[in-house]
C-alpha cells in the first residue's frame, strides 16, 4: 500500500512538471513569437485582429498580470479542459481536434505493439534456446541491423516500394475518404485495414528487434539457472522447459518493456504517421510544427505526456502485482 501511495505521489509530481514545462517553455523562448507568427501568416493571407488576440493570449502576452497570476489562469484553463484554439483550423478548439485524431493513433499503435511484442518474444525465446545454431546466427545479426535503421526512412522505403512501385497500398491517409463515409460499414473497415497495413508493418519491423534482443538476453541468463538444469535432468519435454520454466521467468523484464511500449504508442509512432500522412495525433503534431500552431503543439504534448504517465503508473502497479520483490522493496 505504501508503495502504491509513493508511486502515485511521484506521478502527480511528474504531471505537475509536465504542465509547468508546457507553461514556461513559450515564456522562456527568445524573441516575440506573436510578431513572428503574424508576420509569417500575413504572407499567406489576411490575419484578423481576433487571431492576433488569440495568439497573444495563448502566449500570455495580452495581460499585464504578474507571472504567477498567468500561471494560475493557465492551470484553471487546463482544469476545465480548455487547451486553447488552433490557429490552422481557427477557431476550432485544440481539444476537439486531438479527441478526433487520437483514436487513429491508438488503434494503429495498439495493434502494432501487440503483434510486435508477441512475435518478438517468441523469436527471442527460440533463438536463445537454439543459441549457436544456424537459426540464431542468421536471425540475431539481421535483427541488430533492423534496430539501427531510422524509423521514418524504413517507412519511406516501404512506401516507395509497396505503394509507389507496386501500388499494393495507398500512398497516404487513414481511409478512402473520397468514396467511403466515416462509419461502421464493412467498406469502411476494409479501407481502414488496407491503409493501416503498411504503417503497422513498418512499426512492427522496426520494434521487433528490441523485443527479440531483450527476450534473448534475459532468456540466456535464465537458461543458465539451476532449476532449468534440474528440469532437464527430470527429463521434461523441451517445450515444457522452454516455455514453462525458462520463458515464464525470463519474460518479466519484457513485461515492463511492454507496459512502457503501450505508453509510448502515441509518441513512438509520430514519425511513422508523418510519413504515411496517417490522420493520427502524430500527423497533427507534424502539421502543428510546420504551421507553427503553438496551441496545438502544446496541447498534443500535454495529452501525450498525460497518456504516458497514466500508463506508466498502471504498469508500475502491474509489476508490483507480478513480482513480490518490488512490493517488499517499496514498503521497506
Amino acid at each position: 500500500m505504501r508503495h502504491l501511495v509513493r508511486r502515485f505521489l511521484f506521478y502527480t509530481f511528474a504531471v505537475w512538471v509536465a504542465i509547468s514545462l508546457d507553461f514556461f517553455i513559450p515564456r522562456l523562448a527568445p524573441g516575440d513569437p506573436v510578431a513572428a507568427i503574424v508576420g509569417k501568416m500575413s504572407m499567406k493571407g489576411y490575419v484578423s485582429p481576433q487571431m492576433r488576440d488569440t495568439l497573444a493570449s495563448m502566449f500570455g502576452l495580452d495581460t499585464k498580470d504578474p507571472l504567477w497570476v498567468q500561471y494560475f489562469k493557465y492551470l484553471d484553463n487546463l482544469l476545465h479542459g480548455n487547451l486553447g484554439n488552433s490557429i490552422q483550423y481557427f477557431p476550432t478548439p485544440v481539444g476537439q481536434i486531438i479527441g478526433r485524431d487520437i483514436w487513429w493513433s491508438v488503434m494503429l499503435g495498439g495493434v502494432a505493439v501487440l503483434i510486435s511484442f508477441g512475435l518478438g518474444c517468441l523469436i527471442g525465446i527460440v533463438t536463445a534456446w537454439k543459441r549457436g545454431t544456424v537459426l540464431d546466427t542468421i536471425f540475431s545479426p539481421i535483427m541488430n541491423f533492423l534496430s539501427a535503421i531510422p524509423y521514418f526512412w524504413l517507412a519511406l522505403l516501404a512506401l516507395y516500394v509497396f505503394s509507389y512501385l507496386l501500388s499494393w497500398f495507398p500512398l497516404s491517409g487513414g481511409y478512402d475518404d473520397a468514396n467511403i463515409d466515416l462509419g461502421w460499414s464493412l467498406d469502411f473497415i476494409g479501407s481502414v485495414a488496407q491503409h493501416a497495413f503498411l504503417p503497422a508493418l513498418t512499426l512492427v519491423v522496426s520494434s521487433l528487434a528490441g523485443w527479440m534482443l531483450m527476450m534473448r538476453n534475459s532468456m540466456i541468463i535464465t537458461l543458465s539457472e539451476d532449476y532449468v538444469l534440474i528440469a532437464k535432468a527430470k527429463g521434461l519435454t523441451e517445450r515444457r522447459i522452454m516455455f514453462r520454466y525458462a520463458a515464464h521467468n525470463a519474460i518479466l523484464p519484457n513485461i515492463t518493456g511492454f507496459a512502457i511500449a503501450i505508453s509510448t504508442i502515441v509518441s513512438g509512432q509520430l514519425l511513422t504517421e508523418m510519413v504515411f500522412s496517417y490522420p493520427g495525433i502524430g500527423y497533427a503534431l507534424f502539421q502543428a510544427v510546420s504551421g507553427q500552431d503553438y496551441a496545438m503543439l502544446q496541447g498534443i504534448f500535454l495529452i501525450i505526456t498525460l497518456a504516458v504517465l497514466g500508463t506508466n503508473f498502471l504498469a508500475d502497479m502491474l509489476y508490483a502485482f507480478l513480482d513480490p520483490r518490488v512490493r517488499q522493496e517499496g514498503s521497506r
Binding site: 517553455i25 513559450p26 541488430n144 503534431l285
Partner: protein, 283 residues
C-alpha cells in the same frame, strides 16, 4: 579487443569519421550550388544525381556526413558529461542531494522524450546548437540512473574507504577512484547514446526543426520530403542519406554488442567454449 564485432563496428564508424573530416576537401561543387540539371538520375558527373533545383546530392551527402557525425558525437558527449555528473554526485553524496537528483532523473525518464524535444525545438531558433541542447535536455536521465547505481555499489568498496581514510579530497575520490572504475559503463553508454542521438537528430531535422541551409543527412531527407521526392519516384534523393544513418547506427550497435559480450561472457557462447578447451589442455 579481438572481438570481430567491435572491429567491424569501429571500421564503419571510422570510415564515416574520415569521410566527415577529409571528404569535403575533395568536393569540387558547393553542396548548396544550384544548376540547370534538374532531377537527373545518378551519372558519372553526379554520382547520386541532382535535386529539383539541381544541387549535387553526392556533394550534399559528403558535407552532411561532417555535420551529422560530428554533431552527433559531440551531442552524445554532452549527454554523457551531464549523466556522469548527476550520477556520480548523487550516488556519492547520498542524502538529500541524491534524493533531489534521483527525483529529477526519474521525472525526466517518464516524460516522453521525442514530443518534448519537438516542442522545445519548435520554440527556439532553428540550428544545430538548438537541436543538440534539446537532445541533451531530454536524454541525460537514463545513463545518469545507470551510473548512479554503479556509484552506489562502488562507494562501499574497500579501496574507496581506504582512499577516504588516507585523506584524499572528495573530488579526487569521485574522479580517480570511482569514475575511472566505471569507465567501461561510460563508454558503452556513450556508444548507445550516440546511436539514439543520430536517429533523433535526423528525425527532428526531417520534421523541419533543423536549419535547412546546413547540409546534413536529416536535412537532405527533409528537402526530399518537401519536394515530394517519393511520389515522383526520385529514389536517389531519399535512399542514400537514410542508408548512411542506418549503416552508422549498425556500426555503433555492433561495437556495443561486442562490448556487452566481452563484459558478460554468458552472452558469448563460442568464447566460453574456447576457454573451456584451453583449460582442458592445461590440465
Amino acid at each position: 579487443m579481438s572481438n570481430p564485432k567491435v572491429m567491424i563496428g569501429c571500421a564503419i564508424v571510422g570510415f564515416f569519421m574520415v569521410v566527415g573530416i577529409v571528404g569535403p576537401f575533395f568536393m569540387t561543387s558547393n553542396p548548396n550550388a544550384t544548376s540547370h540539371l534538374f532531377i537527373t538520375p545518378p551519372s558519372p558527373a553526379h554520382w547520386l544525381g541532382t535535386t529539383v533545383v539541381g544541387e549535387d546530392i553526392f556533394s550534399q551527402l559528403v558535407y552532411g556526413t561532417r555535420t551529422s557525425v560530428f554533431w552527433g558525437l559531440g551531442t552524445s558527449l554532452m549527454v554523457m558529461v551531464l549523466s556522469v555528473l548527476v550520477g556520480l554526485v548523487g550516488g556519492y553524496f547520498g542524502s538529500w542531494v541524491d534524493d533531489v537528483l534521483t527525483l529529477l532523473t526519474n521525472v525526466s525518464l517518464v516524460l516522453p522524450a521525442l514530443p518534448l524535444a519537438i516542442v522545445l525545438a519548435a520554440y527556439f531558433p532553428r540550428g544545430p546548437l538548438t537541436i543538440s541542447l534539446v537532445i541533451v535536455f531530454t536524454n541525460w536521465a537514463w545513463q545518469a540512473r545507470v551510473l548512479r547505481s554503479q556509484t552506489l555499489s562502488l562507494r562501499s568498496r574497500e579501496f574507496v574507504m581506504a582512499a577516504c581514510a588516507s585523506g584524499e579530497t572528495t573530488w579526487r575520490i569521485i574522479f580517480y577512484e570511482i569514475f575511472l572504475n566505471e569507465i567501461g559503463l561510460v563508454v558503452a553508454g556513450f556508444v548507445s547514446t550516440t546511436i539514439y542521438v543520430v536517429l533523433t537528430w535526423a528525425g527532428l531535422e526531417f520534421l523541419g526543426l533543423g536549419d535547412g541551409t546546413i547540409p546534413s543527412w536529416g536535412s537532405i531527407l527533409y528537402w526530399a520530403q518537401q519536394a515530394g521526392a517519393l511520389p515522383s519516384g526520385l529514389w536517389w534523393w531519399f535512399v542514400p542519406p537514410g542508408a548512411c544513418i542506418a549503416l552508422l547506427g549498425a556500426g555503433l550497435s555492433l561495437i556495443n554488442i561486442g562490448i556487452d559480450e566481452v563484459v558478460d561472457p554468458r552472452l558469448h557462447i563460442e568464447r566460453a567454449a574456447k576457454v573451456a578447451k584451453k583449460q582442458k589442455e592445461v590440465t
